[in-house]
């Protein structure tokens, strides 16, 4: 049971405060803020308590989303709820920021009233909520450069011609009715890779977590069919079709997904609700169908002057985009971060089939052969557009009945690094 929900800005301003069960002191918000700002880095921030009140909070969009509860409740449920709440507010307000929450406080109160009653979570489905919500969202216009930095997953790739404008996916779901918003549907296949390559160059661990997300701006969409690769298989033993199967270990679906065509044709049928939802989640461990995207060949030695020489050769094993290769080397920069004791090597763009190398010379006081052992692992973070590590593809995206008027469907693939570690 939730006693109160409040949203605070990063500076501790009260943006939203809703007391569901009464009886809480007025200073509860400031107590929370004091506690949360006093936390040190290694203390788990999720649950804190003050006397018999428990604070559960998450941070999203630079805001604190806090729920208070009593000892008997499951923190997991409440954390999950807060995540959903943040997602809903994002759907309804277009984006998550202090400003958007402030401008839409009436809408958010209305949402909270419907989502939670007397501390019992009622619903977080935008389909259900659209029947009750009266308030219109207020969005910040005009579009500013600042908002560009907020471009989320549904942002655009600038090189492509067939792209959605970057702000397309950051508008409130309900504005489509009156503001004449386009009927649009965005489907993202997002994968996160966790890779560990041992110091001997052998692959020690390779996991992929993936999900298919749908963001829907279609008020009257009754059914959508998403076709996946026909040879898509689940589990270790199952194999379908010929050749390289697209395989995952585990797969779970949103409860609105109907799977009657899934076994035979790998088609997901669902009626998407307004806003963003995760339709399917899947995992694959240790058995990637394709080669790893990046390989690093590090050499570390000491020179005569007592400097540490790190020679890094980084190769991208993705298929080259086209025959016309860029000849100039891409923009790169490197920086030593003394605080985290790390060298950060930034590469803006990295074409498939190419390789880059860098030589870092580090002056290390009292360098010994033992300190060579201290040189830690290399972590790679990257984003690979238009590629899925599992090979999962969306064959088609059909809407029925056929939408009146112009409607647009966007499909995007992206693979992120979650934790891509190469040990030295």
């Amino acid at each position: 049971m939730i006693s109160q929900v409040f949203i605070l800005s990063s500076k501790g301003d009260h943006l939203i405060y809703k007391d569901f069960r009464g009886g809480a002191g007025n200073d509860i918000v400031s107590i929370f803020y004091e506690k949360v700002t006093a936390l040190t880095g290694d203390q788990p921030p999720v649950v804190m308590n003050h006397k018999d009140i428990y604070f559960v909070h998450i941070r999203q969009g630079g805001l604190y989303w806090v729920a208070t509860t009593t000892a008997g409740s499951s923190p997991f449920t409440i954390t999950e709820f807060l995540n959903r709440l943040a997602a809903l507010v994002k759907d309804y307000c277009g984006s998550l920021s202090e400003k958007s929450v402030q401008m839409n406080f009436a809408l958010i109160y209305e949402l909270l009233d419907e989502i939670v009653d007397y501390g019992y979570i009622q619903t977080t489905s935008s389909d259900v909520l659209k029947n009750f919500i009266q308030t219109e969202a207020v969005t910040s216009r005009p579009f500013s450069l600042f908002d560009l930095s907020n471009v989320g997953l549904f942002g655009a790739e600038t090189q492509q011609s067939k792209v959605a404008p970057s702000s397309a996916a950051t508008r409130p779901i309900q504005s489509s009715r009156e503001q004449g918003g386009k009927s649009e549907i965005f489907v993202d296949v997002i994968e996160r890779m966790t890779v560990v390559i041992g110091s001997n160059g052998l692959l020690m661990k390779a996991d992929v977590e993936g999900e298919i997300r749908v963001k829907c701006y279609m008020p009257s969409c009754s059914e959508m069919r998403i076709g996946l690769n026909e040879e898509f298989s689940i589990g270790k033993s199952q194999l379908r079709g010929y050749g390289a199967a697209v395989r995952v270990d585990e797969c779970s679906f949103h409860q609105a997904v109907r799977l009657d065509e899934f076994d035979s044709h790998r088609i997901l049928r669902l009626c998407p609700s307004q806003g963003e939802q995760t339709v399917m989640q899947y995992q694959l461990s240790d058995d990637l169908p394709s080669a790893l995207p990046f390989r690093l060949f590090p050499t570390i030695e000491r020179d005569n002057g007592g400097r540490l020489l790190m020679y890094m050769k980084l190769r991208c094993d993705l298929p080259p985009k086209s025959l016309s290769q860029e000849l100039s080397s891409p923009d790169q920069s490197a920086e030593l971060k003394p605080q985290s004791r790390a060298v950060v090597w930034k590469i803006a763009r990295f074409a498939g089939g190419t390789q880059l190398s860098a030589l870092f010379k580090l002056e290390v006081p009292s360098l010994s052969s033992a300190s060579m052992l201290e040189v830690g692992p290399v972590g790679l973070s990257f984003e690979l557009p238009k590629i899925t590590a599992t090979g999962l593809q969306i064959r088609f995206l059909r809407l029925s009945p056929i939408q009146p008027g112009p409607s647009q469907r966007w499909v995007r693939y992206v693979t992120h690094s979650d934790s891509y570690t190469i040990r030295i």
């Binding site: 939203i16 290694d42 997991f76 401008m103 009653d117 009622q122 207020v138 995760t278 692992p377």
Partner: protein, 915 residues
């Protein structure tokens, strides 16, 4: 609206500086006034904007309760948006304005009849949130209707409203029969209604533990399970949590419930998954382990738990905590999933630590190689805390999985090779634990450990290393050197290290008694005499006593630390060891309980004296060198004088005074006090017995605790190797800790002043005593005191300033170069006027012995002659201020009891020069 919201932001930033706002004027009154006007406007849009503004003010904490009637007036509207806003306001302020809240009741009742189900639900929901007693009676009828409403949305809202009402007025709810209606709703056709009814009933049942409200029987369970498949994800959580309270009748029922709950494991909402796991974990208990289904279920539990880890870090953390509990209960569920818990470099530290803990719990012989390889990698990460934890984890693995111990040790050795300071220290602590668990197995690595001795700067690592050296002393050639090196800075070490060092050296002594006798004396004296720490002293005394009693028997207790938990040492009370060897008097003298344990002052002093003065016993090892020397000196002088002077010091003229001879003449500046001073000094003869020389009198209580708010000071004076010292025992008999000690002397006859600050560094806890030695010099301001050797002292602590006076023996002022040339002595002696003479008698003196002993006190015998059967000793001494004292001592030969002493002539330094 956007415009005013923007202004709201700005207004909050600039506060009252803002001048150009049509919504927020600078004075609060004006703002309220304007809002009032707008609320009463005819235009619906304007009203709505005004209510929004009111709510915005409410959110940021402004008091807008004054607008209550105006806002309530806006309630009667068919605009749902406006209505909701007004209700929002009502919920917040109704409690503070209960009388006015009644005004709203009519509208509520009317709204509950509204054709629009949204409005009906809204009204019943809001009414429940207005926690005003008067309203509740009006609420009953509308609520009864709404509980039977045709629209499920209204019913589910009404179900929750029963719980709200119950919280305000439980009796009313029971009287009105709402609880039965609520029970009926469990069989409702709409799953959402069922879920809310379950939630409401569960909560009400909690406040009536014996009410049988939620009597879960197979029929209700069946209904709940049916609703489970249909209701929303959050409703499923209510139902699952409720199911977890049910106890099935047999294993068949529990299997069938498990079967129906299992599909929830693949739900996208991880909170549902976890609630399902909770139910399954409980019901699995009922299932026989050999059942096929049991195995299947176990297998089904792992993947959803693994999936939980792909969530946001916050959820991941909560999930990990839950998994940690599950793993403790049933490690078999996740035994094949070790890899999932390997940390990612971008995990927050709290997630990393939780994963580390689970990894260790899952570690088994099958996967230990994998785990160790992983842990070793973590030890090279940047985050120091995490690295330390990883190294510790290796140790925990070794202790958990015996077969892996060897591998763990070699991994730790690899880490020590990195020479990274904190890794090395942590590894040594861990290796110590492994040694304790598996004794005499891995001592081959000790050489490597010893190489790193110098780099250890953390107490825990130092203590661990010392433990290892002590434990394996027989295998380390230079164990004594190693331990000795630690001993140098003994007092700068932390208690942990000191205790460990003490134990280790005692162990070493037992193993190699011949070479290490000095070392053990040294450490025992450091621990017992120079330390303020009662734990350390306790342990020091115990060892000392045990060693002096019977080194063979003593072997046992220190070896107990081999297996040792640290607690053993603290539990070993002095009394218990005493009873083991009650027959050894000398040992009792040495190891009598430390002062802190003894409550009564008299005992305390007695014990202290015992400890200080008892000559080293022959049965045990002699006391440590430093104190041994001191004791030796005391023995010579103290013991000698005791026997020399006999027992009737009190009655006879004190010999101290005899030596404390009057000045015959003083420097010019001293002229005034001199004459008086002479008499004073002579008067001293009748005074208290003055001890002399390096022998220091027993401590007497200078400042009783009663007079000084619990601070008791006893003390004495002594001259040790040319330095005058004031030796004090400070005892805290108050209830609070004393700190900030300082001392000051009043001007006195010989210009005595502290040569340094009072060294009481640690706070003095209640019932603790501390020995302080304060060196004195004689360069302070001079003023004649009455009596001459009186000293007025002020001692300050954090509580107050206290004053006391004490008298010091003149003998401590005798300087080392007080031996006068024979010729000079003769000449001076003759020059001394008769009126500067004084005579005293001492009994029971042995002449030669006395002469030797007295020299120790800087009283030098210049000549000796025998006249008429009397032995005559001529002696000289010099005071710190340059005054000479010359004495003649006559001893009646053949009658050692009767001794006469003729004194006294004084000379001034400059006069000596002149002659």
């Amino acid at each position: 609206m956007q415009e005013w919201a923007n202004q709201l932001c700005e207004n909050r930033q600039f506060g009252s500086k803002m001048t150009d706002s049509k919504y927020f004027t600078t004075t609060k009154k004006g703002e309220i006034f304007e809002l009032k006007a707008e609320l009463n406007s005819d235009k619906k849009e304007k009203k709505k904007e005004a209510v929004k503004k009111v709510i915005a003010s409410m959110t940021v904490g402004k008091d807008v309760s004054a607008l209550f009637p105006d806002v309530v007036n806006c309630m009667q509207t068919d605009n749902l948006e406006l209505k909701k806003l007004v209700y929002l306001y009502l919920m917040n302020y109704a409690k503070s304005q209960p009388d006015m809240a009644i005004m709203a009741v009519n509208t509520f009742v009317k709204d509950c009849e509204d054709p629009n189900p949204l409005i009906r639900a809204l009204a019943v929901r809001t009414m429940g949130c207005i926690r005003v007693d008067k309203i509740t009676e009006y609420l009953c009828e509308p609520l009864r209707k709404c509980l039977k409403d045709e629209d499920p949305y209204v019913r589910k809202t009404a179900a929750v409203c029963v719980a709200k009402l119950h919280d305000i007025n439980a009796q009313l709810v029971e009287d009105q029969g709402f609880l039965d209606t609520l029970k009926d709703l469990i069989s409702d056709s709409n799953p959402m209604v069922v879920a809310n009814a379950v939630a409401a009933l569960s909560e009400i049942a909690e406040s009536h533990p014996n009410s049988n409200l939620m009597d879960l029987n197979p029929q209700t369970i069946n209904k709940l399970l049916t609703a489970l498949n249909e209701c929303t994800e959050w409703g499923q959580i209510f139902i699952l949590d409720c199911l977890a309270n049910y106890t099935p009748r047999d294993d068949r029922e529990s299997q069938s419930i498990c079967e129906r709950v299992t599909p929830r494991l693949s739900h996208a909402n991880s909170a549902v998954v976890l609630s399902a796991v909770k139910v399954l974990m409980k019901f699995m208990e009922m299932l026989p382990k050999d059942l096929d289904y049991y195995g299947t279920l176990l297998k089904k539990l792992a993947p959803p738990l693994v999936t939980l880890l792909s969530a946001e870090p916050e959820l991941q953390y909560v999930a990990l905590r839950n998994i940690n509990l599950i793993v403790q209960r049933r490690p078999e569920i996740l035994k094949h999933e070790m890899k999932v818990f390997f940390v990612k470099y971008n995990d927050p530290i709290y997630v990393k630590l939780e994963k580390l803990d689970i990894m260790i719990r899952l570690a088994s012989q099958a996967n230990i190689a994998q785990v160790l390889a992983e842990l070793k990698e973590y030890a090279t990460e940047v985050d120091v805390d995490f690295v330390r934890k990883a190294v510790r984890a290796i140790g925990r693995c070794a202790i958990k999985v015996e077969q892996s111990a060897e591998r763990c040790v070699s991994t730790l050795l690899d880490l020590i090779q990195t020479k990274v300071n904190y890794v090395v220290q942590e590894a040594i602590v861990v290796i110590k634990d492994i040694f304790r668990k598996y004794p005499n197995k891995y001592e081959s690595v000790i050489a490597t450990l010893c190489e790193n001795l110098d780099s250890l700067d953390e107490p825990e690592a130092r203590a661990a290393m010392i433990w290892i050296v002590g434990e394996y002393a027989e295998r380390i050639d230079n164990a004594d050197e190693l331990l000795e090196s630690f001993l140098e800075g003994f007092h700068d070490e932390s208690t942990q290290v000191q205790l460990q060092l003490l134990t280790a050296i005692v162990k070493l002594f037992l193993k190699k008694p011949t070479e290490t006798q000095e070392l053990v004396q040294q450490v025992l004296s450091l621990a017992t005499q120079d330390s303020d720490n009662p734990d350390l002293r306790d342990r020091g005394y115990i060892y000392w006593r045990l060693l002096s009693t019977d080194p063979v028997a003593a072997k046992e207790p220190p070896s107990a630390f081999v297996e040792g938990s640290r607690g053993v040492q603290h539990k070993r009370l002095p009394g218990s060891t005493e009873s083991e060897s009650p027959d050894t008097a000398s040992a009792a003298a040495v190891s009598d309980a430390p002062p802190a344990v003894i409550p009564s002052q008299g005992d305390l002093l007695g014990d202290l004296l015992n400890l200080d003065l008892t000559p080293p016993t022959t049965t045990g090892p002699p006391p440590p060198a430093s104190s041994g020397m001191q004791m030796g000196a005391m023995d010579l002088l103290g013991g000698g004088l005791d026997s020399l002077l006999g027992g009737d010091l009190g009655g006879s003229p004190a010999i101290g005074a005899g030596f404390g001879a009057p000045p015959a003449a003083m420097p010019a500046s001293f002229s005034a006090p001199v004459s008086g001073g002479l008499d004073d000094l002579f008067d001293l003869g009748g005074g208290v017995g003055m001890p002399m020389g390096a022998y220091s009198a027993p401590k007497t209580v200078w400042l009783p605790a009663l007079k000084a708010k619990g601070l008791e000071i006893s003390g004495t004076f002594a001259r040790r190797s040319g330095v005058i010292q004031m030796e004090m025992t400070l005892t805290n008999k108050a209830m609070s800790v004393m700190t900030d000690f300082a001392i000051q002397f009043n001007r006195n006859s010989f210009g005595l002043a502290p040569a340094g600050p009072l060294q009481v560094l640690t706070p003095l806890s209640p019932n603790q005593s501390i020995e302080v030695t304060l060196p004195l010099n004689t360069v302070g301001p001079v003023m004649k005191m009455e009596p001459l050797n009186n000293l007025q002292v002020a001692v300050k602590n954090n509580i107050d300033v206290f004053y006391f006076s004490c008298q010091y023996p003149i003998s401590m002022l005798f300087v080392e170069d007080g031996k006068m040339e024979r010729q000079v002595f003769l000449a001076t002696w003759k020059d001394i006027p008769n009126d500067s003479e004084a005579q005293f008698q001492i009994k029971d003196c042995h002449l030669n012995a006395a002469s030797n002993k007295l020299q120790g006190s800087n009283i030098f015998t210049i000549a000796k002659r025998t006249v008429d059967g009397q032995d005559m000793l001529y002696q000289s001494m010099k005071l710190t201020n340059g005054i000479w004292v010359l004495t003649e001592m006559r001893v009646q030969a053949g009658n050692p009891v009767y001794t006469v002493k003729k004194c006294v002539y004084i000379y001034i330094a400059n006069m000596v020069d002149r002659i």
